[in-house]
C-alpha cells in the first residue's frame, strides 16, 4: 500500500515504468541471459522472414531453380563432389559449437586457461567458416551469379543466396569478435573479480544460435 501511494506521486512516465516493472522478477535467470534470449527471439523472426521470402520466390518463379547440389560442387581429386564445401562448413560450425559448449562448462569450473583456449578455438573455427564463405561468394560471383540473375535459371536464386548467407555471415563475424572479447576478459581474470562466469554462457547462447540458424539454412537453401 505504501508502494501505491508512493507510485501515485510519481510523474506519469515513471508511473508507467513502475507499473510494468512492479518490482517483480519474471525470469529466474541473470538479466543478461534473459535479454540475450529475447534478442535471439527477435533474430529468429528476422531469419524466418528471410527464409519465408526465399520460399515464396522459389514457389512463384516460372524458371527452373538452379540445383544447389551442382552449383556448390567442388572439383576435387579429379571428380566433382556435390555440395562438399557446404558440408565442410557445416562440420566446422558444429565443431565450433562443441568447443563453445565445453568453454562454458570449463568457465563454470573456474578453469581460466582451458576456457580461454576453447573460446579462442571457437573463434578460430568461426573465422575459418567466414573465410570459406568468402571463397564461396568469390567463386559464385566469378561464375556470374548476381542478385538479379545467374547463368543457370531463376534470377531470384542470387538475391536469396546473397541475402541469407550474407546476413548469417555477418552474424558469424560479429560472433567471432564477441568471443575474442569474452576470451580476453576471461584471460584477464575479469569474471573471477566479478564472481560470475554467466557472461561466458550468454556469449555461448549467441554462438549456438548462429549454428542453429545454419542448420535451417543448410536444410532449406542447400539441401531442398
Amino acid at each position: 500500500m505504501a508502494h501505491d501511494a508512493q507510485a501515485a506521486a510519481l510523474p506519469p512516465l515513471r508511473q508507467v515504468v513502475e507499473d510494468f516493472a512492479s518490482d517483480k522478477q519474471a525470469f529466474q535467470v541473470p538479466w543478461g541471459k534473459a535479454m540475450m534470449w529475447i534478442f535471439l527471439l527477435s533474430d529468429t523472426f528476422i531469419f524466418t522472414c528471410f527464409l519465408t521470402g526465399y520460399m515464396n520466390v522459389r514457389l512463384s518463379t516460372m524458371d527452373t531453380w538452379p540445383n544447389p547440389s551442382e552449383v556448390f560442387a567442388l572439383h576435387l581429386f579429379g571428380q566433382d563432389i556435390p555440395l562438399i564445401l557446404i558440408a565442410i562448413m557445416t562440420f566446422v560450425l558444429i565443431t565450433s559449437s562443441g568447443t563453445m559448449a565445453l568453454a562454458v562448462n570449463y568457465g563454470y569450473r573456474r578453469d581460466r586457461q582451458k576456457t580461454v583456449l576453447l573460446l579462442t578455438a571457437t573463434a578460430a573455427l568461426g573465422a575459418t567458416f567466414v573465410g570459406m564463405q568468402a571463397f564461396e561468394w568469390t567463386k559464385l560471383i566469378m561464375e556470374g551469379v548476381r542478385p538479379w540473375g545467374n547463368p543457370w535459371g531463376a534470377p531470384q536464386f542470387g538475391s536469396a543466396f546473397f541475402m541469407i548467407t550474407g546476413f548469417h555471415g555477418c552474424h558469424v563475424t560479429a560472433g567471432v569478435i564477441y568471443l575474442l572479447v569474452t576470451a580476453r576478459r576471461v584471460g584477464s581474470g575479469f569474471y573471477d573479480r566479478k564472481g560470475s562466469y554467466e557472461t561466458v554462457e550468454v556469449a555461448g547462447l549467441y554462438w549456438h544460435f548462429v549454428d542453429l540458424v545454419w542448420v535451417f539454412i543448410f536444410a532449406f537453401f542447400y539441401l531442398w
Partner: protein, 106 residues
C-alpha cells in the same frame, strides 16, 4: 545471481555425446544429397534431421531443457506464430505461380 550459477553445470559427457550426435546427423543430411534421394523421401529426411539437430542444440547446448518453464514459454512459444506467416506465404507463392502461368505462358 551466485545461487543460480552452477545450475547449468552438467557433466562433460553429455556435451560430448550431443556433439557426436550432431556430427552423425549432419553426415546423414549430407548423405541425403550425396545419394541423390528425391521427392517426398528427401524432404521428409531433411526435415527430420533438421528438427533433431535444432532440438539438440537448443535443449542441451543452449541449456533450454534445464531452464524454468516461464523462460521456455517466453522464448519457444512466440515463434509458433511464424507458422502462420509461412502458411500464408506458401499459399500466396502458389497463387502467384498459377497467375503467372495463366498470364505469361501460352
Amino acid at each position: 545471481m551466485s545461487q543460480s550459477e552452477g545450475q547449468q553445470q552438467h557433466p562433460l559427457t553429455i556435451y560430448l555425446w550431443i556433439w557426436l550426435l550432431l556430427f552423425v546427423l549432419s553426415a546423414c543430411s549430407y548423405a541425403v544429397d550425396y545419394f541423390h534421394l528425391e521427392g517426398m523421401l528427401r524432404w521428409t529426411l531433411i526435415i527430420i534431421f533438421m528438427v533433431l539437430k535444432a532440438g539438440l542444440i537448443v535443449a542441451i547446448f543452449m541449456h533450454m531443457a534445464w531452464e524454468r518453464l516461464a523462460l521456455k514459454f517466453a522464448i519457444l512459444l512466440p515463434p509458433l506464430c511464424l507458422l502462420v506467416l509461412i502458411g500464408f506465404m506458401a499459399i500466396e507463392g502458389d497463387y502467384t505461380f498459377i497467375t503467372r502461368g495463366a498470364a505469361f505462358v501460352r
